[in-house]
């Protein structure tokens, strides 16, 4: 099912990035997808379960988190970080800035696990 993805800063992402981006705390704060309760029910996703988010660029697995802040169905939120960047398109339309808020993604439940930062870098970019 296609939903609208918004990326952004969260307090947890801001705090954990200052400690270490290779830490588990950082992964727990950014490898997540905040969702509306109705969307989760419709897609059969449980709170804390894993979801696969896909775009034409690629797909990632992150943890679904039920959010009371996202009150409109159809919107999902992922904090800034290397996980969400792996599925972002790079076209800047001549402005220097890619579209990072408000693009369509496919969301589905999965049994796969979210990759750790080192595994993610190795899988996508082939270096560690």
């Amino acid at each position: 099912m296609e939903l609208t993805l918004i990326t952004g800063r969260t307090m947890e992402q801001g705090c954990t990035k200052e400690h270490a981006k290779i830490s588990d705390e950082y992964m727990m704060s950014v490898a997540i997808c905040e969702m509306n309760a109705e969307d989760m029910k419709r897609l059969g996703i449980r709170d804390g379960g894993n979801v696969k988010i896909s775009t034409e660029v690629g797909s990632i697995v992150v943890k679904a988190v039920k959010s009371r802040r996202i009150r409109t169905p159809g919107i999902v939120f992922i904090p800034f970080g290397p996980w969400v960047n792996a599925i972002l398109p790079s076209d800047t339309e001549g402005t220097g800035m890619p579209l990072l808020k408000g693009f369509k993604v496919k969301v589905e439940p999965t049994d796969d696990l979210a990759l750790t930062i080192k595994d993610l870098l190795l899988k996508i970019y082939g270096k560690k």
């Binding site: 609208t4 918004i6 990326t7 952004g8 800063r9 969260t10 307090m11 801001g14 705090c15 954990t16 990035k17 200052e18 400690h19 270490a20 981006k21 290779i22 830490s23 309760a37 109705e38 660029v57 690629g58 009371r68 802040r69 996202i70 009150r71 409109t72 919107i75 939120f77 800034f80 970080g81 290397p82 960047n85 792996a86 599925i87 972002l88 398109p89 790079s90 076209d91 800047t92 339309e93 001549g94 402005t95 220097g96 800035m97 890619p98 579209l99 990072l100 808020k101 408000g102 930062i117 080192k118 870098l121 996508i124 970019y125 270096k127 560690k128």
Partner: protein, 481 residues
């Protein structure tokens, strides 16, 4: 144990300069007055610290001497045809100045993180100008504060408390009391709802998805706070008025407000999910303010429309100045991203995305900006300083960044450093090194050194100067031979 007062926080563009740091045995023991973000930087900066220069050999990063790492950096940059020098927003103006000299020397492109945050704002400002002021003016005089597409509660936690609605100004009072009474009422409403849902629905204790917002406004002249965003953030909870706009609808709403301010009628019932009556009320509020200010964030620059959204916001502010005093300011993210723009402009005439490959500075965002250069695969080497593009750039740009020789100068081991060919650890600017930073309203502030850096760790400025000297040596050698 001793106290260092008047420390400028090196986290976000607020650059709070009232932070107090307690130091014991050259370690930060505690920090006062800082927000959660600033405190986590001061308290956690030394965790997972890398203090050794690293060079990639046979696919693995291995320890090396500083001299060897600097030599390798200079070789990479001197031999590159079109190197990219990226980052700069988390370091001092003094280091940025050396970086610009280096970019000119190697004939590369130098770009700062503006390119991936408020780049569209800069483009819009260059098109239509900007009516701005210092945050002190806003603190003392603003009676209408609008946050559009930004969430300072999460990204600039002390912005509201120090500069806007929750600050006690000379001519405007803080909205604390009103906020607290609203909080108590809201909490009581939630409790009532949960109790009712337990009785009538057998336990489903969720709040209604969306309820009709009723605007209860203080008398004219008193300070008011408005939040316009695509979702109800914690900042929106603080506001007197929250207006929810559909994702990608900001441009429509801004232009609708411009029309309403000119007393034109709209032939629609709603704009981007907002009833026209609400927009009319907001337009009235704007026109009747004595001193209004619009803060905007990445909600405008990163969504559909980009620079055109910001341009519409600036034009709205310009239109409002026909009736009252209204100002606009971008919510800058990194603590010295404004300084990066300022120093770039002093030295080259352009605030970011400056290309020296022709021997003189050239500026064309979309062509000379970091993400475009990397996505096209044009750069054949890169130096990243005080930034982490692997965590902030789209995949295709990162692929090209890591497939070419990559130098990282950073105090911590970021994902970009993990992918680099040379890593040089540096001192944390604002904690272990002095410097100058620019607050989001272009006020320069001194950054203090509160503790000494670990043995052998140099500042960004010193590292860059040593690399630059080495590059010049290599170039002189090759030109004389």
């Amino acid at each position: 144990m001793h106290l260092v007062s008047g420390v400028t926080c090196p986290f976000c563009g607020c650059c709070c300069d009232d932070v107090e740091v307690i130091v014991e045995d050259n370690k930060v023991f505690d920090v006062r007055n800082a927000c959660a973000l600033g405190a986590s930087k001061f308290m956690g900066y030394n965790r997972h610290r890398n203090t050794k220069p690293l060079i990639r050999k046979n696919g693995e990063l291995v320890e090396a001497s500083l001299e060897e790492a600097i030599e390798r950096c200079a070789e990479i940059l001197a031999n590159a045809q079109y190197p990219l020098l990226y980052g700069w927003s988390n370091t001092s103006c003094e280091a940025i100045r050396v970086g610009l000299e280096m970019a000119e020397e190697v004939g590369g492109v130098i770009d700062n993180t503006t390119t991936a945050c408020h780049g569209p704002s800069i483009l819009a400002i260059q098109d239509v100008g900007i009516p701005g002021c210092t945050l002190g003016q806003i603190r003392h005089r603003a009676d209408l504060i609008i946050y559009w597409g930004c969430n300072p509660w999460s990204a600039h936690p002390r912005h509201i408390e120090r500069y806007t609605a929750l600050s006690e100004g000379r001519f405007q009072r803080a909205i604390w009391k009103r906020y607290l009474s609203r909080l108590i009422l809201e909490s009581a409403r939630k409790k009532r709802y949960r109790a009712a849902s337990l009785i009538f629905k057998g336990g489903a204790a969720t709040l209604p998805a969306e309820r009709e917002e009723k605007w209860i406004l203080p008398p004219p002249g008193e300070r008011k706070m408005v939040v316009i965003d695509v979702q109800r953030t914690r900042t929106a909870d603080l506001a007197d008025i929250f207006i929810k706009v559909k994702p990608g609808g900001d441009y429509d709403v801004l232009q609708a407000l411009r029309a309403l301010i000119r007393d034109e009628e709209l032939d629609v019932d709603e704009v981007a999910g907002i009833p026209v009556e609400k927009l009319e009320e907001l337009a009235d509020l704007m026109v009747n303010a004595r001193f209004g200010v619009l803060f905007f964030g990445l909600g405008l620059t990163m969504s559909v429309g980009k620079l055109r959204n910001v341009e519409a916001a600036i034009k709205l502010t310009r239109d409002l100045n026909m009736y009252t005093k209204f100002l606009i300011m971008p919510m800058r993210g990194h603590f010295n991203v404004t300084g990066a723009n300022v120093v770039f402009t002093w030295q080259t005439g352009y605030p970011y995305a400056v290309d020296f490959s022709h021997g003189y500075p050239r500026y064309n965002p979309g062509e000379t900006s970091a993400i475009d250069i990397l996505s096209r695969g044009d750069a054949d080497a890169a130096l990243v300083i005080a930034s982490d593009p692997v965590s902030s750039f789209p995949r295709r740009a990162v692929e090209n960044l890591v497939n070419n020789p990559l130098i990282v100068i950073d105090p911590s081991l970021s994902p970009t450093a993990l992918m680099a060919d040379v890593v040089i650890p540096s001192a944390f600017v604002g904690i272990e090194a002095e410097g100058t930073t620019y607050r989001m309203d272009h006020v320069p502030l001194p950054l203090k050194k509160v503790v000494d850096p670990p043995q052998g760790i140099l500042t960004d400025e010193e590292i860059l100067q040593r690399i630059l000297r080495k590059i010049r040596e290599i170039k002189n050698k090759s030109s004389s031979s």
